[in-house]
């Protein structure tokens, strides 16, 4: 059910571009370079697996729940009675891999729950279910 997040990709590309640009800069930039390289290594070799191990999600008839993060873990719970929209989002990388992100928003600007890296069929099915249940329960506590 869970898929690794392809989060570090852009970071890696950014670092390589930066490296090429900074090559001609003054030597003390080497510190920054080493730091960036280290971060890229961690981002590629450690973070995805760690995240994959941590991430969990669940939906019931009453609420949506998700656990995300690696260094900082976050549990987010929203009751379906407060849900306003259920979106399925597919970024370019996700499209390539047949994945999808489910975003459940509540009336709060900071209350959205994102469940990343679901396979597309699951995401679609869950989105449909949630939309159906959310319609039954009324009121969004605005």
């Amino acid at each position: 059910m869970l898929q690794a997040l392809f989060f570090p990709g852009p970071v890696l590309i950014g670092a390589i571009v930066a490296y090429a640009l900074w090559d001609s800069a003054r030597p003390w930039l080497i510190v920054v370079l080493v730091g960036a390289a280290l971060m890229v290594l961690v981002a590629v070799l450690v973070e995805p697996f760690w995240r994959y191990r941590v991430h969990r999600w669940e939906t019931t008839d009453e609420a949506v729940y998700a656990l995300t993060g690696w260094l900082v873990r976050e549990w987010r719970v929203a009751p379906l009675s407060r849900v306003q929209t259920v979106d399925g989002i597919q970024g370019p990388v996700e499209q390539l891999l047949g994945l999808s992100t489910l975003r459940v928003t509540t009336a709060s600007s900071r209350g959205a729950i994102e469940i990343g890296g679901l396979d597309k069929a699951t995401a679609d099915r869950v989105a449909e279910d949630l939309t159906r249940i959310a319609q039954i329960t009324t009121g969004d506590a605005t």
Binding site: E74, V77, T106, S109, T137, T142
Partner: protein, 581 residues
């Protein structure tokens, strides 16, 4: 309410309550109903033309042409700008008509672009009257008619600029008709939850609870006022007092509070701005201020240190005076009151010496209250109070969510308690302090910050960018950050009080927030690697109102779960069995 009937700060509310007002004819009596704005707008425009021509005229009269006429250009600019504005306003008046029918309010305006706007009367959410100085002198009011969705953007659906005072309040009275609403059973008008529900007449879940602050404790007082009001209501029918009598007045302007507004860095900014402007303006009249000041005393004798001291003292005095004047003009006649509105009660503030500003906040949308105490002024107890509500911008310049000018914590806490919920008084509740581990976390962070500063400084010293003496700064930085850590730790606190959750945190601005538990739409538990070592966890309660979410930082792991469970009753239950998280 006309200009001369502004409530004096000490005016007795009861006295004004029973003053009968004359009955102006409703503007609807005209057959097809199209009306012009008040003709006094033209006179005001004429006056503005004259006034804007004055400075240039005076400058010419006393005949300063020393600068070859170049110095006059700003004044000519002012004159042209003012005159053009006034003429444009007069033309606008000429082409503007409005109509209040039984179903719509309509406005036709514009010369080149004809605009015909209409708004359904049952969509009207607010009718606000505003008056700038020129309007008050001419007994005019600008009427802003708003329909729900625009309130967030602080723009009105329709603006009538300007009507005579009597017309303005007659229209407002007719559109809002607060007496009819208040005479009904108050409960249903309050229980409506939000605009969407209001439009459909759908009763939402949790409405009975969200009505809490309005329904608890306050209602008896409100009902009593209504009862005493009703005998005379028939005689007053159709008249516009122009001033819905408040159910309760919580606070009136107190000049003493000026103390809280003058001590600020802004004093120096204001002095610089005013000083520069003054020098430039006087320069156009050929008066060289710099010359005069340097001729005043023998500055060489005083020496640079003395000069700096004198400049500093002068700037301080000038800045404080300027800010005091600003405080008085902005907050004069401040009044925080609860009045009847279309859907339940409104929280109304009025303020301003020259420009009267009035903001109405629907109480059924208020989800809580926040007291915030800035660090530098905590010794004098300075506090800002804002309501946690939907539909008001937090970032607008005029701070519509703020319900009191900055002032002493004691008064703020009392007023906020009375407004929000006198029965539970969540903001006065004793808060549970957070575990020592939270202090340890803050001390660690303080040390880490210091180490980071040390590393950067050390590196700079090694590369000879700064002298080695700079390392002494660390002796200052470490105690400062440690002190900050202790202050931040002491700010932490939380509690559950009746239907509210209360949480307090913040180093720079210690913010105490009371939030209705029913308004919480998402619960977030957060735990960083560092927090896990210390056994801590933070709880975030997300809501639609106010800042969108409020965090309760660093509770012990089990306490965090318990607090989260209580903060949103029933929300976490389905997941608690699954190994706790």
């Amino acid at each position: 309410m006309s200009a001369d009937a502004e409530p004096a700060p000490s005016a007795d509310p009861e006295e004004r309550f029973f003053v009968p007002a004359p009955a102006p004819p409703l503007p609807e009596d005209v057959p097809d109903g199209w009306q012009r704005l008040s003709s006094r707008v033209i006179w005001v425009d004429l006056a503005i033309v004259v006034i804007s021509l004055l400075p240039a005229g005076i400058a010419l009269a006393i005949g300063l042409d020393s600068g070859g006429g170049g110095g006059l250009w700003p004044l000519i600019g002012i004159a042209v700008f003012g005159a053009f504005g006034a003429v444009a306003d007069a033309v606008r008046w000429l082409f503007t008509r409005y109509r209040v029918s039984s179903t719509h309010v309509e406005l036709k305006t514009g010369v080149l672009f004809r605009v015909h706007r209409s708004i359904q009367r049952d969509r009207i959410r607010s009718v606000d009257a505003e008056a700038k100085l020129r309007h008050r002198l001419a007994a005019l009011r600008v009427l802003e008619i708003g329909a729900g969705q625009q309130t967030a953007a602080r723009e009105s659906a329709l603006k009538l600029d300007a009507l005579s005072v009597d017309d303005a309040y007659a229209i407002r009275h007719e559109l809002l008709d607060p007496v009819a609403v208040a005479a009904d059973d108050p409960a249903p008008s309050i229980a409506v939850d939000g605009d969407f529900a209001a439009a459909d007449g759908v009763d939402s879940i949790g409405a009975a609870d969200t009505a809490g602050p309005g329904a608890d404790g306050k209602r008896p007082a409100g009902a009593a006022e209504t009862a005493s009001d009703s005998p005379r209501a028939p005689t007053d029918e159709g008249t516009a007092t122009g001033d819905e009598q408040p159910i309760a007045v919580f606070w009136r302007f107190e000049p003493r509070w000026v103390v809280f507004h003058v001590l600020s860095v802004w004093a120096y900014v204001v002095v610089l701005g005013l000083g520069w402007g003054g020098v430039a303006l006087l320069g156009t009249f050929g008066i060289d201020v710099v010359d005069i000041v340097s001729g005043l005393v023998n500055w060489d004798a005083i020496g640079p240190l003395g000069t700096a001291a004198i400049a500093f003292v002068a700037a301080t005095i000038g800045g404080v005076l300027a800010l005091a004047v600003a405080f008085v003009t902005e907050y004069w006649g401040y009044e925080l009151a609860r009045v009847r509105g279309q859907e339940g009660t409104l929280l109304r503030t009025r303020r301003g010496l020259f420009t009267r500003r009035e903001v109405n906040r629907a109480e059924h949308r208020i989800r809580g209250m926040q007291l915030s105490e800035p660090l530098l002024w905590r010794w004098m107890g300075a506090t800002d109070t804002t309501v946690v509500t939907t539909g008001l911008s937090l970032w607008a310049v005029d701070q519509p969510a703020s319900i009191l000018p900055r002032g002493p914590l004691r008064v703020h806490r009392r007023v906020a308690g009375e407004v929000l919920d006198p029965e539970h008084a969540p903001l006065s509740a004793a808060l549970t302090p957070h575990p020592r581990a939270a202090l340890r976390r803050r001390l660690w962070w303080a040390t880490l910050v210091t180490l980071a500063v040390a590393a950067i400084l050390g590196w700079l010293v090694v590369t000879d960018v700064v002298p080695a003496v700079a390392l002494v700064a660390l002796i200052v930085v470490w105690p400062l950050t440690l002190a900050g850590a202790v202050v931040a730790y002491r700010a932490l606190g939380h509690a559950i009080v009746g239907p509210y959750l209360v949480t307090r945190s913040g180093l720079n601005r210690r913010a105490t927030v009371a939030l209705q538990r029913d308004a919480v739409s998402t619960i977030v538990l957060r735990e960083s690697l560092f927090q896990r070592r210390l056994g801590l966890r933070s709880v975030g309660t997300m809501t639609a109102a106010g800042r969108g979410g409020y965090d309760t930082l660093d509770l012990m792991r089990d306490d965090a779960l318990a607090f989260a469970t209580q903060a949103a009753p029933g929300l976490l239950d389905p997941f608690l069995v699954r190994g706790g998280e």
